[in-house]
Amino acid sequence: MSNAQTAQNRYKADLREIRFLLFEQFGLGELLGKEPYASWGEDEVNMVLDESYKFSCDVLGPLNSVGDRVGCHIENGQAVTPPGFKEAWTKLYEAGWKSVGVKTEHGGQGAPMALSVAVEEFLSGANVAFAMYPGLTVGASEVIDHFGTPAQKELYLPRMFDGRWAGTMCLTEPAAGSDVGAARSTAKKLPNGKYSIKGTKLFISGGDNDFTENIIHLVLARVDGAPQGTKGLSLFIVGKMKTDASGAILGPNDVALGGLEHKMGINGSTTALLNFGENDQCEGELVGTVENLGMPQMFKMMNVARIGVGLQSVSVASAAFLNALEYSKERKQGPNIRNWKDANAPRVAIIEHPDVRRMLLDMKARVEGIRCLIVKLARHQDGFVVNQGKDDAAASYHLGQVDLLVPLVKAYGSDQSFRICETAIQVYGGVGYTKDYPAEQYCRDSKIFSIYEGTNHIQSMDLVGRKLGQNGGANLQAFLGDIGKFIAENASHPALGPSIKELQAAHEAVGMTAMRMLGWFQMGQMSMVPVVSTRFLEMMSELAVGWLLLVGASIAIEKTKGLADGEEGAKDRAFYAGKTLAAKYFAMNVLPGVKLKAEVLGREDTSSLDISDTAFATV
């Protein structure tokens, strides 16, 4: 390793905060002990939180900077991952932390998603580059579980869920990034029912590793004669190795590792260029039995992956915040501002300086805000599972909220994550820019989150173009309705009144802007939509975050009333005060921006469309 930061865990999480969200704000307790979560009780949830956190700190955390500094390379056509990754993979699957939310029929524990997202936050927060390998493996398994034939499920799922085989998703090609439909990979049906796969895939996360005997690539390719564009794409299961029906490895499957990217961050994760069928010997199986369903099938995985990116975002941002907080309490610099004239005044920890406090509270509010979005999404998913087949209206409501929240979780979460990491570096000052402290790595690692799994602009177009109008607009109406109800019930809240007023203004601004955009669609002013969609996604996310933080604050204020005096209740009292002030900070400092953005957006400024290419610069 090239510098002072060696194999040492820097990861930390605030378990009190996680427990607050799960049990006090989002009512996980209501789900426990009942089908389909009958085997889960509060004790199990708490033990899982404690143990998976301990595992993340002890096993994955120490490898985070190792993975970053050493990175991955190729030897003899095979990727070599950073030292310790192979052992960590084995330990991860022995400990079972990738099976928390996996269905019991596949050997998992079938936990509520609200719990499994908490566990995932620890795994990713401790080592986001490492966590990509198992994360994509679960994503690929779920596609096969959902769309595969019984024989495919039998062959692949047990091996992928227990970590013997890994998985990837292969969409991107050199000329087909965001424009997936431009993919040129081909599939030709063979007499044995399989397909001969040919093509080059690029930017494949986990595309190769040295810890599993096989890797199951899910590859988008076009069957000969299929239509152009996304409609003609099919999804194929393509092993790195050829196997027989019993899973025995027969030999290589003509999948060649063409290269690994040299990246800004997530250096412990292989980002591979894969050549399929260079020697016409690469065989794949169609997922399921019907061709040209590749996009809807891949979207199943994309949805899981987008939520996963939101999780990565909060994981890394939270680690950056808590590390910066720790440093701010240790580092002494300058006197307290009250003593600014006194050259002999005692030096104070930088957390005493007002601007450092502002940055810390800003990070806290944003970290906890994006975490709220994810836990809320997960809780709606659980609500859908519980009500499915029993209460159609409730199931549809919950599923609608999941759909609506996915782009917010992915795009707002990842945009905020990078900015929170940047603020963390600022709290450290000069040493934050060095590799002696973890903040700079968090910042580099987090940048990719706004790009992969559909750039954040694609997320905003998904929100505006698909999700707002989904179910005839019912999902959006329900979302705004839930917020409106909270505002009405708390308009005269003695402590939160002014914050609720800000929430109300933001609520009106979002509703009004949604209507304005609908008008653009109706009047054919389509070019305005992509100009403002990113801003609209941010407005809607800030409204949601402001709301959820204020819900948390109102709970915290209630709970404070029941606390014991003195030492006994001191810890909880401080925690609840933190929840309340973070919510108030967000409401008073961020929510007013929503209204402002609505006004700006309403001016329909078209400068960025009007400017010609040559007018940008004279070079």
Binding site: D58, E94, G96
Partner: protein, 280 residues
């Protein structure tokens, strides 16, 4: 092999500065204030549990239990959590003797354990060499005396010889003393016993290397922990009278460290080391 492992929860040593002494009131003895403390299992007891698990399994197939590990603790109902943690880590069943902390001292625990041994009939009592709260280092020795069993203290490595005797390397000043002890026996362990090669026991192949330290509680075992038996007993069930011999007269914080002195010359330093510190 059947092994009894006594466990104690202790105030998290990383937060030891939060331990406060409650002012004695109304003629009561002074007491350590336990509200607001965070609890965790005594680390040496965790090492004992890990060693016990290694003695009752094949390290290459740990899911199949080849012996029985019974964990026991003394304390109020909250201590069930400590026991559940041990069950999730791999212990087979648990016993809690229902008492409050202020009813206990090392001697009483040893007498109660001796009675429990009569009931449970283990081949081995394996325990931590001390707890990191009061650091008494007494219970194993007292227990062996009450039982009339051989004892080995400060075990750093354990070799199981056919479940009838153990060859134990115990830590001593400047080296290690190797002893053989016939079972049944009382053994207490120190931290080196959880080294990858700290415990050697058939049927684990001699080539097998354990991970360093204590094992993690795996998810499936956490889910099963509630289904494992946890029995609650009273001191009276063991025929032991709750009469501790140790009385706490008072608590005092260690004296604060004095500020250091800056010396100007080497000669001054040598002088101070010689005449003040008297180390030269």
């Amino acid at each position: 092999m059947k092994i009894l492992v006594p466990l104690k929860r202790v105030a998290d040593p990383e937060n030891a500065n939060k331990v406060k002494i409650a002012a004695p009131a109304g003629g009561l003895a002074p007491k350590i204030e336990t509200t607001g403390l965070e609890w965790k299992p005594n680390p040496f007891d965790e090492y004992a549990l890990e060693a016990a698990l290694r003695l009752t399994e094949n390290g290459t197939a740990v899911k199949a239990r080849l012996g029985e590990v019974i964990v026991v603790t003394f304390g109020p109902a909250e201590c069930d959590q400590t026991l559940r943690g041990a069950l999730a880590t791999g212990a087979d069943r648990a016993i809690r003797v229902d008492v409050t902390d202020d009813q206990l001292d090392g001697d009483l625990v040893a007498r109660a354990l001796a009675k429990l041994v009569d009931q449970v009939k283990p081949d081995l009592v394996l325990m931590g060499k001390q707890t990191v709260d009061s650091d008494s280092n007494q219970v194993a020795q007292l227990l062996a005396a009450y039982l009339g069993w051989p004892q080995v203290t400060f075990a750093a490595n354990i070799v199981n010889e056919d479940n009838k005797a153990l060859k134990i390397g115990r830590v001593a000043d400047g080296g290690q003393i190797n002893v053989r002890v016939q079972l049944p026996a009382v053994v207490n362990v120190e931290d080196r016993v959880v080294n990858p090669k700290g415990v050697t026991s058939p049927p684990t192949p001699a080539t097998h290397k354990y991970a360093d330290g204590v094992r993690f509680a795996p998810l499936p075992a956490i889910m099963q922990a509630k289904k494992k038996p946890l029995e609650v007993k009273k001191l009276a069930d063991l025929g032991v009278e709750a009469a501790p011999k140790v009385k706490y007269l008072g608590y005092e914080a260690p004296p604060a460290r004095k500020a250091g002195v800056k010396v100007k010359t080497v000669a001054e330093l040598v002088d101070k080391l010689k005449n003040e510190a008297k180390v030269l």
